[in-house]
Symmetry: C2
């Protein structure tokens, strides 16, 4: 029965998901000619990235940014798949009525000025107008960024906030500012997103809905969830349980402490709830719990790699110190060091200088070039005792050519490869290229090992559950 409910639920959301994440036409209600206004920034963002039809709505303009402008929703040439409302709170109800009348099924209300400042009745009015004839995302949110379809309602200008490249992470955030900061960070780090959804005051669409959208979205391979308090605890539990059998969910629950929970109450008027209940829910549903915003994405991005068959890790490095730190980090993360076959090490020997240290770690030493890595990678990945590979590439040393990026890219296959690359701008250039080729890169051995542990934990969970569900 539960199984039926889940798939039924997911089916129901499929249409919503299409309208919000992959609309064919968008109306921007409150589009503005003034570059300082959010209604301008959003329109400009859509013009850059969205390939479908865009209809600005503003009674006081004939044309904005070269697009014909429509005086009201009523007069739009067709019913748009999605409407974005970005006008003062006092006018939202009127405009929403027009959306209902026009037959619009999906609305994002970016406007603030509702429950977050005590205006609860304003929200009740919106729900009454919607009367389940349309779905509302918001109000008081930053909306959606979906790079595959080009939807971008994020009203922070691009010079201040980067947009992540298309990738595999679906991110749902209860906090808009936090979502914006993390998208900005991910963009600079070369981390890819399939979609970002800010649920804001979530009077209608909430985290459970967005999880169901992501469940059926093929671009989403891992889900990151920032939550201050669940709106529907039971449904969240059921949804997490269903999704984690298909794809991993990494959750960061904020408000774990008494002062944190108090801050939640004044921030989103949500109940933070007992931290132990959330930890229990995450454990029982196979959701990976992150303890920091760094872990949320350190863990989410590793799922670009295949799931490993076990926890035996091989380390390859060009810095002895990093080899030591990687070994410590592997053990301290609860994983095991692979015991390489003698034949594996013997097959590397003829291709490397005598002073290379062949063991685990394999220390290719400071003068290693990309070719030396290629020999080691190829041999180690074939070793039946190796489940996953942790590769350190210190780019400071002249002998390591940029071709190391190609060597690692081509080595990808059935066993996960994770890289550690510590450094500044030169390293970042290579790191971001590796990320775009699907190899997760970490600035430290400790973060790489923790991410590997989350990958392996999920692989074990999935193996355990696959008997029941697949």
């Amino acid at each position: 029965l539960e199984k039926f409910f889940l798939y039924h639920e997911i089916e129901n959301k499929f249409m919503d998901s299409r309208l919000f994440l992959r609309p064919r036409s968008i109306a921007v209600i409150g589009a503005s000619r003034s570059p300082q206004k959010l209604g301008h920034v959003v329109l400009a963002a859509l013009l850059r990235s969205f390939k479908g039809q865009i209809w600005p709505v503003n009674p006081n303009a004939d044309q904005i940014l070269g697009l014909r402008c429509w005086p009201s929703v009523k007069e739009l040439p067709k019913t748009p798949d999605l409407a974005i409302i970005i006008i003062p709170a006092s006018g939202v109800a009127e405009v929403l009525s027009q959306c209902v009348a026009k037959g619009i099924k999906a609305v994002i209300i970016l406007s603030a000025g509702f429950a977050e400042i005590g205006n609860v009745s304003g929200e009740r009015e919106l729900l009454k107008i919607a009367n389940k004839k349309l779905r509302i995302l918001g109000p008081n949110c930053i909306g959606i960024y979906a790079p595959y379809s080009g939807v971008d309602t994020i009203f922070n200008p691009p010079y201040r906030q980067g947009r992540p490249r298309p990738g595999h992470i679906g991110f749902v955030s209860q906090s808009g500012a936090l979502g914006a900061a993390l998208m900005d960070w991910a963009a600079a780090e070369g981390i890819g997103f399939a979609a970002f959804v800010s649920i804001g005051n979530r009077i209608d669409v909430d985290e459970v809905d967005v999880l169901s959208w992501f469940a059926s979205d093929k671009n989403v391979r891992a889900i990151a969830l920032y939550l201050e308090g669940a709106k529907r605890g039971r449904e969240l539990f059921t949804m997490l349980k269903a999704i984690t059998r298909k794809k991993p969910v990494i959750a960061l629950k904020a408000g774990r402490t008494i002062p944190g929970a108090a801050a939640v109450a004044s921030h989103t008027a949500a109940l933070a709830g007992e931290p132990a209940i959330y930890s229990g829910m995450f454990a029982q549903t196979g959701t990976i719990e992150a303890r920091s915003i760094e872990q949320l994405f350190d863990f989410a991005k590793i799922f670009s790699q295949p799931l490993p068959n076990g926890d035996r890790i091989a380390i390859i490095t060009n810095g002895g110190g990093f080899g030591v730190l990687c070994a410590d980090a592997i053990i301290e993360s609860g994983l095991r060091m692979a015991k390489l076959e003698k034949s594996t090490l013997d097959s590397i020997k003829p291709h490397v200088p005598e002073y290379v240290i062949l063991g685990n770690p394999i220390d290719l030493t400071g003068d290693a070039n990309a070719q030396r890595y290629a020999h080691a990678l190829s041999a180690v990945l074939k070793d039946p005792n190796v489940d996953a590979l942790l590769v350190t590439t210190l780019m400071q040393i002249t002998t390591l050519e940029p071709e190391i990026v190609d060597v690692l890219t081509e080595a990808q296959g059935k066993k996960p490869i994770v890289a550690v690359c510590t450094g500044g701008h030169w390293s970042a250039a290579h790191k971001n290229l590796l990320e775009s080729r699907g190899i997760p890169v970490y600035p430290t051995p400790e973060r790489a090992a923790a991410a590997l542990a989350s990958l392996i934990k999920y692989a074990k969970f999935k193996k355990l559950k696959s008997g029941f569900f697949s």
Copy 2:
């Protein structure tokens, strides 16, 4: 007696410290005309930064990079304060004899090819030649980077490895590659160094010596130590005990696990020792133990701020979600949330909109500008219940002007201020500026809170010890 020994020891090292960290003249033995050779890269680096006299030594060149070249050490016009040897291992002994004969007192041997590849006898020979008439740093090290004097023997080209700006951190590393990677990272992050010393095979100068140099170096306000295994355990203990009463030491001990310790043995031929012994030593000497390379510098850089009188933290933010995460992180790091005086909050009220949340956290909300921060900072820093301040500045939102950098800079005084700034390139520009003005900035609330906890831990330790020692 112990006290006497310590100061005596530190005095003895003072001359070495001057010659290595602040020489007036440097001979580069093995300077090369070929841009690919390390002897060229080092000479070029010195030419860029060192203001004293530089004498290239090479029998096969008349001039390199515009400098007159000397055929041998013997023929140098004067005795240099410091000699840098960067020739193949086989020739080092001969050149070292010439250094002794010339009366040189400080030598850095960058050349590899000694104990790290089993050539222990080669090292014994060098020590015999030196015969305590000169001090040797190395061999198999990357030497010294000292931005205040301009000493730079780091042979990684500047496009691959950045050099940190002048700052307050003294960093001693048993691993050269790790040191290079972390300097590169620090440079990109805007973190300042007073000096970096790579001890390599440490046949003479070791971590204890460098700690004593840093103890008496006024530019060094905090010491970062990367260690795989102590050379002189007892002396290290005594030195740490003495230094931590003057300035903080943050230590990262690698080789804490069995595979890690095995990797240490093949990397630096050192004994990793029992991890519990090191943890015990760090605890007993007031040394702050870092558990990752990120913590090593997260902790070291916070000592640009004054020591706080207690552990009551106030939080100011322009993002509610970050306020929640900061509160969680403060509590989970073992610190306390400050209870602000009603008068403090009342004094902010007239200067901020009604919807600003006045409590702890103070949530200035998403449309906060620099002026709003200025009012809040000034009031909170005066509150007698506040020992330290954690300020989040999300730079994605248009209303927060770059002037926030000046506001934070000017707020600095007797109470420590730490910032959280999460984001991409725009954020990084502001973050690096703040770092250069002495405000430590962290990418996440969790790392900021952990660093604050290390600052407070050291402040408590110093208060406890000051009665005995000052």
